[in-house]
């Protein structure tokens, strides 16, 4: 488990390549550009989205790192999406380690669209303290936490329950999303920790062009997101917290691929100066039907 190459960039890309070759069908993705923030849209029922994300982080008082995670996102129903994350990281001049898994579920709370659309997010995670994907910033997470050598950090394990309320609205082509979050460390037990993520994004064109095209403006979307931690129940407030501001951009290709990029900039001395993120994803239709046939034994 020490060197879990499955999560390295080449392995992740190779895995996606194999998935493409094996794909029975495709669907053009219409994904938001956010890396951290969630809007209220769930995966279409029966579809599987395979995503690989990468974060290159600068580190003061330690070595820079590359953290990657693989996401398998499945639309169980039109109101329920479930997702498995596998996390890992390479700290330069140190080592590559697998850092754990997360199991996320998102539940749409209201049937129809409303002024604000709430989605409940529940996640169980079992990750080591060497985890550096910095996708969820909560409590008093600061840059110094990531300066610990992997050999020491990976000995600490956290079992956590994370709850988010995903609030999102679309208005005149813009999406605005606000995600307050609360995390409860289960083992070892600890106080509730809080954080936030907010984002706004918009496609570059609102009307679809008549032809299929890779570089049509409607295939691109851009925006900005901000995220950070808000302390915990023992020590609430903004002291010893980190915050990031990150422009985001996505390119949805007609072939079904989506590429995202987001340079995140730390807003205070407790934050990494730069978190350079990119991601690639592809959606597969009919995955649920295929698996269902396997379980039901139908041809």
């Amino acid at each position: 488990m020490g060197r879990f190459l499955f999560l390295s960039i080449p392995a992740g890309l190779f895995f996606l390549f194999i998935m493409v070759l094996a794909a029975p069908s495709r669907l053009e993705a219409q994904e938001s550009p956010y890396m951290v923030t969630y809007d209220h849209y769930l995966e279409e029922p029966g579809n599987l989205e395979v995503e690989y994300f990468s974060t290159l982080g600068t580190q003061r008082g330690g070595h820079d790192f590359h953290a990657g995670w693989l996401e398998l996102e499945y639309g169980a129903t039109a109101w329920w999406t479930t997702e498995l994350y596998l996390d890992g990281q390479t700290t330069f001049h140190d080592s590559t380690v697998f850092t754990g898994f997360r199991w996320e579920n998102r539940f749409r709370l209201l049937q129809c669209e409303h002024f604000i659309n709430p989605v409940l997010y529940i996640e169980y995670e079992q990750i080591s303290e060497a985890d550096k994907i910095v996708k969820e910033v909560e409590g008093h997470d600061v840059e110094g936490d990531h300066a610990v050598p992997n050999a020491i950090a990976r000995q600490g394990h956290n079992h956590e329950l994370e709850l988010k309320l995903l609030l999102s609205k679309n208005f005149k082509g813009w999406n605005v999303a606000v995600n307050p979050l609360a995390t409860k460390p289960l083992l070892p037990s600890g106080p509730w920790e809080f954080g936030y993520a907010v984002g706004a994004s918009r496609p570059l064109a609102l009307k679809a062009s008549a032809q299929k095209c890779n570089f049509c403006r409607e295939n691109f979307s851009a925006g900005v997101e901000m995220y950070g931690d808000l302390g915990d129940t023992v020590s609430p407030g903004l002291h010893e917290t980190s915050h990031y501001l990150a422009p985001v951009a996505a390119w949805n290709l007609p072939s079904g691929w989506t590429f995202r990029v987001s340079p995140g900039f730390g807003l205070n001395d407790n934050s990494h100066r730069l978190l350079m993120r990119w991601g690639v994803s592809r959606e597969f239709t009919g995955f649920g039907d295929t698996l269902g046939k396997l379980f039901r034994g139908r041809p």
Binding site: P45, K207, S209
Partner: protein, 147 residues
């Protein structure tokens, strides 16, 4: 310890998939015919909305492209319907007002498996409505899945 949790997580995910599929299968067998009652639920204000792209040929072409990308998987390449979703070339749909179709697209029919499509910008949803209304009603004898 960590190694033990990985397969557990994978198994849980697989179980969820299986359960969801069984749930869908039950729903299908209990309701072998799709119905179009959702169209009648559109509020009067939504129903009376005018299609700003009506008669726009480029909107029809754009709507066709969007239909192929987002709708054909469930509703069929020609809107004839399938196992997952009803036909769109029946009188109930073709005679519905543009505002009604726009409302159903925007809100989805979540409990029956149709996602909300408000993630498409409003102009694209109107393009889809414009394209849908160019489809021809199929003769009743060959309509599949219609109530």
């Amino acid at each position: 310890m960590k190694a033990a949790f990985l397969p557990v997580g994978a198994l849980l995910l697989a179980a969820v998939v299986a359960l969801a599929q069984n749930d869908t299968a039950r729903a299908r067998s209990a309701d072998s015919h799709f119905d179009y009652a959702e169209l009648a639920k559109a509020p009067e204000k939504a129903r009376s909305r005018h299609n700003p792209l009506a008669g726009d040929d480029t909107a029809v072409a754009g709507g066709k492209k969007l239909f192929e990308q987002h709708c054909a998987e469930c509703h069929g390449a020609a809107g004839e319907g399938g196992k997952k979703a009803p036909s769109l070339i029946v009188p109930e749909v073709q005679q519905a007002s543009p505002g009604t179709l726009f409302w159903v697209l925007t809100n989805g029919v979540v409990r029956r498996g149709m996602p909300v499509w408000s993630k498409l910008p409003e102009a694209q949803r109107w393009e889809l409505v414009t394209y849908l209304q160019t489809l021809k009603i199929e003769s009743p004898a060959t309509v599949t899945g219609a109530k």
